[in-house]
């Protein structure tokens, strides 16, 4: 299929339809509103359903119902809206249901700003709802990758019966790039024989969220943790850029990683041996990428105040090797300031 020029938010909507999603429940918020706008027009054309919910809370609970009923369901929002969705995300997780949630991050905390940010790393990667849980978190750094990841997200969600979060930002949501759409599942998807369908003559199905007995609740938690062990073993994804001979490595994801690549190109021309590890999955964090690397310093670059730093420290198993530079509150990093930061770290060691 020929590539088409599309805005990130709309391309994500189209990707969801291509992946077989027919149910969207959402609420307007900048900078993601083009996604519900697009799906309100396009979903009915393919027999799908778009509901503008009365709130973010209602939207995620509609997703809970649709997912329980066996459908591929999507919701999207931006930072403060995703904060509101956390209750429902916890319930969906606890009920072992698949769902996809898109977060087009903006600057925070609170109402923050409508400009792009990456300050929801902790909320989405470490879990913003109550209880011991993880969600798979995918971090695209281009519109094409956002498209591919949305498609994969539905498969991952169905495969592991867990919510998957697309953690992107307003820049990728708002910019236009050429993309193509090719949905090709890589995983064998289990049948949804647990779904609520009105039991007919068959087995009664229940989607349960309360384990009144503490032992039952602990046992359910143990099952959840087994799922996370499997996800951590099988699903780490990352990209390496200029890492073959790198002595200093950036670690950066999404929009920041894109900017960091430009900085690397500049630094390489000046003889600096720098590379990039770009996590594509933030949970599971790609710890494998750090194994066997002989790197003098890891330079974590984010549009936050360093929410990923602790994960990088753990992955390289050396607190002292990790330094950080970031901008936040809706300020987009420039390649020049990343170059300047790298030079201050590397000094004359090139």
């Amino acid at each position: 299929m020929a590539k088409v020029l599309m805005k990130g938010n709309e391309a994500i909507g189209k990707a969801a339809i291509e992946a077989g999603c027919r149910f969207f429940f959402g609420y307007p918020i900048t900078p993601q509103s083009e996604l519900p706008e697009y799906l309100s027009e396009e979903l009915p054309k393919v027999g799908g359903t778009f509901v503008q919910a009365e709130s973010e809370v209602a939207a995620i609970n509609m997703v809970y119902g649709a997912a329980a009923a066996g459908a591929r369901a999507l919701t999207s929002s931006s930072s403060p809206g995703v904060a509101l969705k956390q209750e429902g995300i916890g319930y969906i997780t606890n009920a072992d249901l698949p769902a996809v949630i898109v977060n087009m991050m903006r600057g925070g905390p609170g109402l923050g700003t409508i400009q792009p940010g990456q300050a929801d790393y902790r909320m989405c990667v470490k879990g913003g709802s109550n209880g011991d849980y993880h969600n798979i978190v995918l971090a695209p750094s281009s519109v094409q990758e956002a498209v591919d990841m949305v498609m994969e997200a539905f498969d991952l969600a169905d495969c592991y019966r867990t919510p998957v979060i697309i953690l992107s930002d307003g820049l990728i949501g708002q910019m236009m790039e050429p993309v193509d759409f090719h949905y090709a599942p890589k995983r064998e998807l289990p049948p949804k024989d647990w779904a609520l369908t009105g039991k007919g003559d068959g087995q009664k199905h229940m989607i349960v969220n309360l384990n009144m007995d503490a032992e039952d609740c602990e046992n359910h938690n143990i099952q959840l943790q087994k799922k996370y062990v499997e996800i951590e073993q099988k699903e780490q994804q990352w990209e390496e850029y200029c890492m073959d001979d790198a002595e200093y490595a950036f670690v950066s994801y999404g929009t920041s990683a894109r900017i960091t690549k430009s900085a690397i190109d500049t630094l390489r021309k000046e003889g600096y041996k720098v590379g990039l590890i770009r996590p594509k999955t933030l949970y599971p964090f790609p710890k494998e990428a750090f194994k066997g690397k002989n790197i003098k310093k890891y330079m974590d670059i984010e549009m936050s105040m360093g929410q990923m730093v602790e994960d990088v420290q753990l992955a390289c198993n050396d607190v002292n090797k990790v330094v950080f530079f970031g901008r936040c509150g809706g300020i987009i990093l420039t390649p020049e300031e990343v170059v300047e930061f790298a030079k201050s770290v590397i000094g004359g060691d090139k």
């Binding site: 509609m62 329980a68 009920a95």
Partner: protein, 249 residues
Amino acid sequence: MSVIFQKSKGLTDVKLHYCPGCAHGIVHKLLAECLEEMGELGNSIIAVPVGCAVMANKYFNFDAIQSAHGRAPATATGIKRVHPDKMVMTYQGDGDLASIGTCEIVHAAARGEKITTIFINNGIYGMTGGQMAPTTLPGMRATTAQHGRDVHIQGYPLRVSEMLATLDGPAYIERVSVTTPGQVAQAKKAIMKALKVQKEGLGFGFVEVVSSCPTNWGLTPVKAMEFIREKMIPYYPLGVFKDITREGN
């Protein structure tokens, strides 16, 4: 030997955990009987609340989901949109529906979601132990209003059926009670009607049941039923508040 009473096939054999004198058991039975008589037991999905009925999924003999507190109407919306040919119900208490879930019930009603909501109004938080509910009567005691609800401090109760009846989305709204055999028979007719408007695709159906909580009211089961008749029903009058199947309504 002739059978004069049989438990509905819409109920499982799991023992109910409700207190003596609580009306949940009666209302569960009525809903199960209505769905059975409509031939819909194999075609039904219910969203149960947070509150005393949180484990009702075990008691109803059809598909069920435990909702987040107050969110059953949203969850039921998601289910109904995926399965428009199924009967989808929510079963909620007053704390769940009229306090933390006010937004969800109002908008499900306004959208005219083709679901049926059974609303149990006993004017108190039961499961958490007797705190003030949005429907606690003026002067009525609760663990968070120990000298009685003072409307100048704690505000006034919500009359949910009347509120929802102002909207265009609902097809049927009735408030009933279950303190006498006659009221129980009327409650069953109301539930049947609210299910039928769903079945016929007419819109949102809502039945409010003015109910009891002997444990947290500090009354015997018999006295609790008297309290409903003498105190609750004067504040929450029984009757049909909306019926789009009736001419001129």
